[in-house]
Symmetry: D2
Subunit: 386 residues, 4 copies
């Protein structure tokens, strides 16, 4: 544990912003973070009121991110923020992230990392150049049973991986929600704010990251079919992708926001020579492990038989379900432990470093680029290029 709380500033995430609240909860859970300042809205009045509601000191509620980064960087080291969390829509990630890094602040960014692959690569360069830490909140890789799955694959329990099926169906864009006052739907379906892809960028990237994270493999080829199912929409709201991984395994990735009646039903199945794994995000404390010629097993979060990685990312004993917010908090905790260790001149451990980084962001943007190009082409297989 760190020797002091790490101080967090936030850009975006004012009143009624769902994901900002999630970041604050995730940062709060373990009592290792102090929320100290914010530029919480493009509307300064909303930003000010949001800051007050969140008990920020008046002089650390800023009108915009530029002001925040400038002023915080002038504060004494024992007062200024340690890192900044960026929870604006996609198009407004890049500029504040670059500025924060330039001013010496570590960064947490909501995914997808940027609007384009090019921006993501610049950010990667900047991170390298500054030596600072950038954390990308691919939440789903924060679940303890996802850690367990990764650990079991890595230990060779399943043998070589042969096939991965990952699906992420949602139903909330089954109608033109974006024209019915749903702000989240509005920017996600607007190419100028969301980027080249809608559904694949928003949730397909989570599925791809999860598949690569658990398997330790990299997508090497793909064949995509993106669809605009609801007439009048500006970006894909659905897509299916055939995959090949770098070890020759095959896969299928399905993402949809028009799967009527689905909530957030991310599921993954990974099959190897000796067995298979199955995990569902909506019942995240269970990992089903299947074997050739033996009964399948129900691995459960919080149990003593789990891997160190699973245990490190769990707070309560078995049978006390943890969920999305705890998975999110795991991303934060590991990030905060990492920057805390660095701040004390220590080397972060592998367990601390287990959170998505700028490289994941670059890969996510490349996934979007490749999927969009593949979908538009008559050629069957596309090499995954970064």
């Amino acid at each position: 544990m760190n020797n002091r709380k790490m101080r967090m500033g936030m850009i975006g995430g004012g009143k009624d912003a769902f994901i900002g609240a999630v970041h604050r909860i995730a940062a709060n859970i373990d009592g290792q973070v102090e929320f100290c300042c914010g530029a919480l809205s493009v509307n300064p009045e909303v930003g000010r009121q949001s800051g007050k509601d969140l008990f920020l000191d008046d002089d650390r509620i800023y009108a915009n991110y530029q002001e925040m980064i400038e002023k915080e960087s002038q504060l004494p080291a024992d007062k200024r923020m340690d890192f900044v969390t960026i929870v604006t829509p996609n198009f407004a990630h890049f500029a504040p992230a670059m500025m924060a890094l330039d001013h010496g602040f570590n960064v947490v960014i909501e995914k997808p990392i940027t609007l384009s692959l090019e921006e993501a690569k610049q950010l990667q360069e900047k991170v390298k150049e500054t030596g600072l830490v950038l954390c990308l909140t691919h939440t789903y890789s924060g679940y303890p049973m996802v850690k367990q799955a990764k650990a079991m694959v890595k230990e060779g329990k399943l043998g070589a991986i042969r096939k991965i099926m990952v699906e992420y169906p949602q139903g909330w864009l089954s109608t033109l929600t974006e024209r019915e006052g749903n702000a989240g739907a509005a920017w996600r379906t607007d190419p100028t704010k969301s980027g080249k892809s809608g559904c694949m960028g928003d949730i397909g990237t989570h599925a791809a990251q999860l598949a690569e994270y658990i398997s330790g493999l990299k997508i090497s080829k793909l064949c995509a079919d993106l669809n605009i199912v609801v007439p009048g929409r500006g970006l894909d709201d659905d897509g299916n992708v055939l995959l090949k991984f770098d070890n020759g395994a095959n896969g299928v990735l399905i993402a949809s926001q028009i799967a009527a009646g689905e909530e957030n039903a991310l599921k993954i199945k990974v099959y190897g020579e000796k067995g298979g794994l199955e995990w569902h995000q909506m019942e995240p404390n269970t990992l089903i492990v299947k074997w050739l010629n033996e009964p399948a097993q129900i691995y459960r979060a919080g149990q003593a038989y789990l891997s160190d990685a699973a245990k490190h990312n769990t707070r309560v004993p078995g049978g006390h379900p943890e969920g999305y917010l705890e998975a999110f908090a795991n991303i934060y905790r590991n990030f905060v432990l990492t920057i805390g260790a660095i701040s004390q001149g220590q080397e972060p451990t592998a367990a601390m470093l287990d959170f998505p980084k700028v490289e994941d962001g670059v890969r996510g943007m490349a996934f979007i680029d490749n999927v969009v190009a593949s979908s538009a082409s008559d050629q069957k297989w596309f090499d995954f290029k970064i």
Copy 2:
């Protein structure tokens, strides 16, 4: 109900043949069929002993199918078999089916219908020409909750269908079982006995038939990736297919026999404008119906609120699970009711006629042809051709 039992002869299905026993159970369940004769094995001695074990009269245990069809056709009308069930491996379906039809017998064939599309088309011609009835045992469309799903789609409960996800993972070919004395594995992975495709022919066709059956749509384009995952195998043991249906809906079909630890995990999800359906073969008495902005519902077999089609294909009240054998028996029952009605000069009802026919067989063979061709090609989308 019929005014007498229908008499069944069987070709193949002797000692230790799994699927022959299944056909006999399915035919027996409702007490509407009398098993009267058989040519149960290519090995006449095995055939004879099998017939005795199954209580056939000695003079109706035949040495081969030719003898059986010849001799039965010479028996008086009130004694000879009404239909013949063919449960030999794929390559030995066509000849006995043609001969049976030529001699005036109705036919039940285990799927896939033949070894090639060409044979299937000839059989279709022969059925048309003779006016006899051919039943193909795509068992999964016999489940009551599949009937319910079909009825709900047809009534427009889900609105226009937009997306179909169907997966059929098995794990039993994760090793080279075919070289370890598993006879079923041996012929299924042998191109001379199984045809152009292994996994897609064996189980992918079930998945395709189920998707078309429930949705009432037809696959119009596909993009396939077939794989031989276990080195040394002669036919695909795994495959993924992107689909387009004739109304513009998209889909994904996954079939695998190397999904280690899976049993027979056929699952389908169908999404429309207003809601979605989910059905799992391994828990077949439940149909989950999902709605936009309303709680999902758990439809259960045997309940009074179900469609007529679901009720017609159920034997016991809710909470008394029916399974695979009853689904199989539904195929038989409807077929037997159909030929019984015809034999009494009556018109079979739509409920009676609800079993897979030669057209399904032709479509299944075409599916195999199209999938194999698509998989071998660099072109992305293939028009589904028959």
Copy 3:
């Protein structure tokens, strides 16, 4: 397997009688039984028409059970029925069973065996005296995963059994269905036809038999609370019973027919020193096995790792669900194998003899007597007396 089909006669079970149809299906499934005669209804005309619909020969459709037993006993040995199945309401079990045994016929009786414990004991005497076989269709002990559970307990996999929780909630008597034309509800709630108890007699006995069957223990004490929940009903429609078993284990048995919205949700959990078992009748192909400090396991019907008893009672491979009718058929198959073996002068094996017998019937009637007496008393614990 037997050297000929066993011939079944049936008493009761005419048109629209649910359980008669179930018995015929169960007897038919394996092709080992020939349904040869019947006295299918107290209304001779209904009985005659039912017999014709079921393809019985005219001269073996009898006006009443007396006639049937008399006339069948005069037929030559190679023609007359081997056993009689009694599927009348509870009050009409005893007389035909006694008469059948007296005339040398084996008997299958739907449970509960008789109207009173006294009758059951007389029947037990008669069975002993005649050396014939009586089978009681406690269906739930016919499921393969129940056999597996029993085998695992017996092998000591769980250590000594400490606690059993069994519940059997149904909802179909939540209203006064018996006054709305539901014949099954009418006799079940009528003390003159059903006996001392409604719900406990009808389904509580199943739960008690299942608990004793799996655990190999006997209920030694109980403390019961029977309730008439729906005003105006004549017999208990709900009840809860605290149990002690003969090894000191404790238990709870809950049975209800007013659990609104429940179908037939029999569930049992058995806990020993080392682990626990959980089985649900509505998803009967799965047995969850729980361990101290190890992941729980999912045992599945049809798998090679199961006990001989489970395999002997399964027809299809893993992943092809079997259900209630197959469980019922297992009772029949084992009974038929037993009487077949005896008829050939052979000793039935333990696997053949694994079906409920007259002793189970006596125990069931004693359970009803004890529960009813306990419920009426202010004394807490009742010794289980037979």
Copy 4:
């Protein structure tokens, strides 16, 4: 929301104390509480180090609770703690709670509230006398789908309640864990620290509170069977209780800590005239609602169709699972909103006041007393007395 963070002091909950960490997380989640001081261990050195690890100011790490309450009460109003959380073992709840109330501090107590009913009543008197707020952390009533269940019962959706089945099986005391260095097991099985009952006090009270909370009914009679299953243990580790509620409904409550292989499997089923509810703590985001003659429904946390109470106690949209810590945080949030409202001279709303209070504690202690007395008696039914 409040106009400032509420300040929390903690008694107990030092290093390695599970429940103290849970309280801190629950208090932290919403950013509405500042953890300001603590007397974290009976061992002052452990207490001091724990306080430092948790970033408390040195001068607010106290040697014992007396010192803490004294000194805090002397701090200015804008600095001193607003409430104290007591997370010591049962026997050490009463004295600090009384002292805290006497010094004007609101109190949060881990359940069971005290060691005896008598103490609980005194505490109730003290709360009444001081007008302060006491919150008892019966966590399970904090889950949103439990709120939904309560709301649906209250609205009469199920009609009058007829039957309640609640079970709470755990397996962690299947061996003599208390002699193997498990501190939590040690005090829970020690009558001097835990009180009259082990299992029933520890988890049976949760089950009873949940049943009464959802149903709005009160237990009026009971018949209990408490067991010491593992030889050598000092208190019950298992128990079964028959219940009657004040409207005439019946029920069963099962609690066990020797249900080998179970984690924390609290489940409740509530049946009314028109339908039933089923909720499982280990999958808490789902509430199954069953209906007579209609398909059951799957109510899911985070959905727009839920009751206000469910929504008020949810942080993230449907499909993002919340768990035990969020349920716990709901108790805290409502308590903190209540004391915040009072501190601003406002009336707390009903939604704010929805957390367990001293009355629940008194009822819980009475439940223990009644269950223990009933179990020891030969009399069947005990009137529930407070």
